[in-house]
Amino acid sequence: MQPEPEIYKSSSVLKKRLWRNKLLYVMLIPGVLYFIIFKYLPMYGLIISFQDYKPYKGIMGSDWVGMKHFSRLFTEPDFLNILVNTLVLFGMNILIYFPIPIILALMLNELQGTFFKRTFQSLFYIPHFLSWVIVVSISFVMVTMDGGIINELLSYFGFKQINFLLDPGWFRPMYIIQVIWREAGWGTIIYLASIAAIDPGLYEASRMDGAGRIRQVWHITLPAIRGVIITLFILKIGSVLDLGFEHVYLLLNSMNREVAEIIDTYVYTAGLRQGQFSYSTAIGFFKSIVGLIMVMSVNKLSKKMGEEGVY
């Protein structure tokens, strides 16, 4: 889909080409408009992160304050903490969650019989359709110390009850378990689809050569879906600091705030609930820049390693 690297000798050739494909370009217009209106124009709003924005004065009328909000963010005593929390959760997403859909897809692929395959696949991805509120409520009911089944079992077997909901040490495990439970099955879909596209001849040939199942997975399946894995990985990095605001916000409470407050929840409380528009815009801006830098560097890295990258 990349523009062909052609050099136009004169503008008339270009005009001709444009004219020949005029319908295609007309069809392009809505797409371009969409991006301009919904993706680029709103960036104008980022201006308010350099202002003391007052809604009734508007962007034109508000006072300019330069980097005030950014310096406030970086000097805020909690900032480092929030950034660390965000990065830790992100790291867990990458290291623990990310491989799981791949493993699941490989396992599902080894299942014999389409019936089992389909049933398991559906069972795995159904949780994706439950909202975070429901997922968190279900776990609340299960792990609460006031009669939750897990704590009841623990004490039945003579163990000490664990305060899953309030103990800061349990916040991260709870978070990642819920992410896996809800998302892993959904994540397998793309991998399964790309596995299905592999030429069966490759497997037959390898079997002739005496390759076992594990070998087949290692030498055929994994290399075949490597491109997909890398693409998804880069996209995941792009949303580096988007960890599911709703999910974390629901798990957050006074007792685990030191590990649970992340940039998204902070933006919500400081910005929308307390009406500090400029400040929260500055935080969001900062977050986007970090995301952009990370995507660009990972993309470059993957190209260096001989892969395609996403752009």
Binding site: M1, L24, V26, M27, L28, I29, P30, G31, L33, Y34, K54, P55, Y56, G58, P77, F140, T144, M145, D146, G147, N163, L165, L166, N253, S254, M255, R257, T269, A270, L272, R273, Q274, G275, Q276, F277
Partner: protein, 519 residues
Amino acid sequence: MKKKSFTMLLTSLLALSTLLAGCGGNNNQASSETASSESTAKPVETEAAKEDVKEEPTQIKIMLPLNTTDTPPDTIKNEVEKLTNTKLTYQFFPADTYEEKLNSSFATGSLPQVTYLKNQTTFIQMKEAIKDGQFWEIGPLLSEFPNLSKLKPEILNNTKVDGKLYTLYIGRPLARQGIIYRKDWADKLGLAAPANVDELFEMAKAFTEQDPDGNGIKDTIGIVDRNELTYGAFKTVSSWFGTPNSWGEKDGKLAPEFTFDEYFDTMDFFKKVREGGYMNQDFAATSKTDAVNMFTSGKAGLYIGGSIQDIDTLNKDTIKLFPDAVLDTHSMVASPEGKYAQWMIPGYNNVVMFPKSAVKDEAELKKILAFFDQMMTPEVANLMYWGIEGTHYTVVDGKAKPADDKDLIEREVKGFKDSVIGEYETNGMYQSYNVLPGRIHAEELVLENVKVGVADPTVAMDSATYTEKGVEIQQIITDATYKYMYGQLDRAGFEKEVENWKSRGGDKIIEEYNALYKK
């Protein structure tokens, strides 16, 4: 190739949708009216009204928080429109996320003519904009409206900004908090309603240890609390201990409540109750719904926090499972020194404002105020608060008795009920006819509470720093309070957090309040 055709499909789809959007352009008017959920209402009716000799109905857009799950149908709205000769467009938004909606509408300049806030906190956040002249001042106009001028001056005073009035208020009894408890359990164990905080502790303990539901298993607890310091159990119990209401006088100066010894006594109380297992262990993470469920499912015996008038709802759900359950209310709990006190709200739970961006001139403002003036007649107030007579309530002994179908009332009336201006003393609506003894008791207690009521001295004061970040830094104190109650902070640790609060703006807030306090 495959890829290419897919992109083409996408682009053509997009093209098609823009085309369609273009065609829809003609209906601009209609679509802007539909903007608020289902109130497309009847264009037919407006036309019919035009043919009448009557004055054309005033069009009013109203935005308000919704405390139920679904937007109410137009049943009540249609009646109100008839009575007041208006054409109303209600925009209901869930109360849980109302601040968000309010702030974003404000930021984009799209507040409607009539904007309800959510509570005191949202009001404080709007103060800066109010001072900047973004909302109509209504104080001088009030006398032109016979019904609006009945609003209580002392409560109007609490809602003034820089001595000027911009808002109408939704009245609430000053002090409606206390305990809702299982009287059947108490009777069984031979306990009377707790006369002081020690007896309250003993009751929580007895409800936990002495098997009040008599099923032979130790499966009950005393107090059920939730993740909310103000409207949960904490503030109410703290006022029983003698803690001032948010701010109190110490050595002739105003100081925040959490610097008082009584605040620590309260935290110690909850710490002891929690350690003993006499309350829900996860209260710092328990939502209101979960807390209420624990009470109505017979797991807990003492519900503190919120309004004791809620006993009707709690009772309704409890007797579904335990037909023999008896609920009662209680509020006079003495401090260790034998003193009584109850914290009070400023007499309103919400206010309504009129943005200049939506109300163009004073003539329009007056028309809208005329609607609110009519809302304060018994006829309209009853309709909005109680519903339609015969369907949602009946009149017994000059009071309104809600119909048995509570769900119907919840669905059709509740949304409007929370928007009624004033209180029954001023708008002349019916008081509630109560059958439940616990509720009748609650009404008596609400009057009793006021006699020992403690007001927040800063209600009508303005602190720029508080407006800017008071709510944000309050989080430090809230977190520290929970940590103290869970035994993760000692007194020194808590005081360190208070220092933290001070250094991040608290000091300035104290200074600003005291500057006003001396005046």
